[in-house]
């Protein structure tokens, strides 16, 4: 990893690694991971980036879900709508992330908007597919029972189809969230912060601890987010754990 990179900070605009005067041996030797430095600088270097990262992710998955969910409902009633939307979402999905961010800069600038357009685009395919599949896999017998009992179309959707599609929808949200957390690190390329920023900085400076710490935080964030979503699903879908005694 960056074996040839200089050990001293060379980045413009002042030293990336401050407080060299009281640096530990680990820092001076640029060790793989200096735990002491990580703890000392967690609040200053990482917390703001972590908050930005969470915000970027929430916004992307939230907006992506609203778009994909609406499109899936539309495709569920209008069959012709599925193919064009899938083609669009799949096309967006194939654009390399770095190129996507760069492409948007001339249009929307070095802004969160640019980052979100790309991040939202990447969530659409999985969220759309999973929601639509979830709706289509609602057992026919449950639908027939609902119709025969005199539920209206809207009532069937709200009371039967959507709750039963929930596991598939949640599975989509979990994948989209983990993917977005990973992709959002690349968004630092256009200067919108997030955990990608300490990684980019460390690539330039060669400071291994910062590089590894930011990477570990991104992974930890993905794991925590996934665990929270699993907990949410258990809360929303208690019937999934019901089994014959």
């Amino acid at each position: 990893m960056l074996a040839g990179a200089p050990a001293a900070p060379i980045a413009q605009g002042g030293p990336v690694i401050p407080h060299f005067e009281r640096a530990s041996d680990c820092i001076r030797e640029n060790g793989q991971f200096c735990f002491g430095w990580f703890v000392d600088n967690f609040d200053r270097v990482f917390v703001p980036r972590l908050v930005e990262h969470i915000w970027l992710t929430l916004l992307a998955v939230g907006i992506g879900f609203v778009i994909a969910f609406t499109a899936a409902l539309l495709a569920y009633t209008l069959d012709w709508f599925e193919t064009p939307f899938v083609i669009l979402a799949a096309f967006l999905y194939t654009i390399p992330s770095l190129a996507f961010f760069q492409l948007l800069v001339p249009i929307t600038g070095l802004t969160v908007t640019s980052a979100e357009i790309a991040l939202v685009s990447y969530t659409l395919l999985i969220l759309f597919r999973n929601t639509l599949t979830g709706l289509r896999e609602v057992p026919e017998d449950a639908q027939l029972a609902a119709r025969a009992m005199g539920l209206t179309k809207g009532q069937i959707l709200r009371r039967v189809e959507l709750p039963l599609a929930l596991p598939a929808i949640m599975a989509g949200i979990r994948i989209a969230t983990v993917t977005t957390i990973s992709l959002a690190t690349v968004a630092a390329f256009i200067g919108v912060g997030g955990l990608g920023q300490p990684i980019f900085n460390a690539i330039q400076s060669g400071f291994k601890t910062q590089f590894i710490a930011a990477g570990i935080l991104a992974v930890a964030l993905a794991l925590v987010a996934d665990a929270l979503l699993v907990a949410l699903q258990r809360l929303l879908a208690p019937w999934l754990r019901a089994r014959r005694a």
């Binding site: 017998d141 449950a142 027939l144 029972a145 025969a148 005199g150 929930l166 019937w239 019901a242 014959r244």
Partner: protein
């Protein structure tokens, strides 16, 4: 006949203003599916009196399920009419019509994400019942169908066996005290022992809470057991509509005779109980084989054959003789001069 004339008692929670059972009538009801030349159901006319179970039976493709689903408009009639208490189903709003008709089918269709209480409460909730009223009704119905009114209320469908689920399905179809129930091969997916119990329990339930029931099956034994009347369909046409006994005694044609089977005489013995016969004088002490008045003639005949006797003593619940029945009175019933022996 008006449903309010019905002699049957109303259910425990029967709404005081609503009818407990409805008269259902088909008037030349016809269904032709688009692109088909022959109708799936052709000019079907029959009336089901309030509180009776009418079994629709026939080979696959005979139109029995189509005929049933025309009643709650899951299938739209091409021509003709269906009336419930002399009111055409086409005059009613579709959802309103369906909320007034219980529907049970083989796959049950319980909502997997709802507890028993919420499943049973589906239609009452649509009708705007209060939570307390729905809970009380769900408990009452669970007890009626033989499940635990407290424990089972909060369970999910996945926690029950197939037979138990079907009981919940029946309870759900009765939740709003609907005067009419449609049952499409309701017990077809459970094992024979459970099916037998479900049939017995449903008949007991129907005796307590008599609804008008349309019951579709392809099993002639089930039809004979469950039906007050049986409608035999073939290629969308009604071939015979009569009581099980009359159909077994006098099949309208070879098709019906074939359909009910060569053992229709023995099947007919299942319809009759010893208590239905005119019994001979009771002996002071039961000598030889005995049976109660509830015993079917088929079982009684079997006992006589096994014991090698041509006479059986009929006893009451305490074992006291109430009469005798002779082998030839049974054979006379199903023999050529059956009409003379009929009740």
């Amino acid at each position: 006949m008006n449903s309010s004339d019905s002699a049957h008692p109303t259910g425990p929670s029967a709404s005081p203003d609503g009818p407990a059972a409805a008269v259902l009538a088909f008037h030349e009801a016809t269904k032709i599916y688009p692109g088909r030349r022959t109708p799936a159901v052709s000019n079907l006319s029959l009336e089901v009196p309030a509180g009776e179970i009418c079994v629709l039976i026939g080979p696959s493709g005979s139109g029995k399920t189509t005929a049933m689903q025309m009643v709650n408009r899951l299938i739209t009639m091409t021509s003709g009419d269906v009336t419930i208490d002399e009111r055409s189903i086409t005059d009613l709003d579709e959802t309103e019509l369906r909320r007034g008709i219980g529907y049970v089918f083989q796959q049950i269709g319980l909502f997997p994400h709802m507890t028993t209480e919420d499943n049973i409460g589906t239609v009452p909730r649509l009708l705007g019942w209060s939570k307390e009223r729905i809970r009380a009704r769900a408990k009452e119905l669970l007890e009626l169908v033989g499940l635990d009114p407290d424990d089972d209320l909060r369970r999910y469908p996945a926690e029950f066996s197939g037979g138990q689920r079907q009981r919940i399905g029946v309870a759900r179809a009765m939740a709003a005290d609907q005067p009419l129930m449609l049952m499409d091969e309701p017990f077809g997916a459970v094992d024979p022992i459970a099916r037998d119990r479900l049939q017995d329990d449903f008949l007991r339930l129907h005796h307590e809470v008599p609804k008008t029931v349309v019951f579709v099956t392809h099993d002639i034994d089930e039809a004979i057991k469950m039906g007050h009347r049986i409608a035999i369909l073939r290629d969308g046409e009604l071939v015979q509509y009569d009581t099980p006994d009359n159909i077994l005694a006098e099949p309208a044609n070879d098709f019906v005779a074939d359909f009910v089977g060569a053992d229709r005489g023995l099947k007919r013995l299942n319809v009759w109980r010893l208590g239905d016969l005119e019994l001979g004088p009771a002996p002071d002490e039961p000598d030889g084989p005995t049976a109660t008045a509830h015993t079917s003639l088929r079982d009684a005949l079997s006992v006589m054959l096994v014991e090698g006797k041509d006479r059986l003593v009929v006893v009451d619940e305490d074992g006291r003789p109430t009469g005798t029945v002779a082998l030839d009175s049974i054979t006379r019933l199903i023999g050529p001069d059956e009409k003379a022996a009929a009740r």
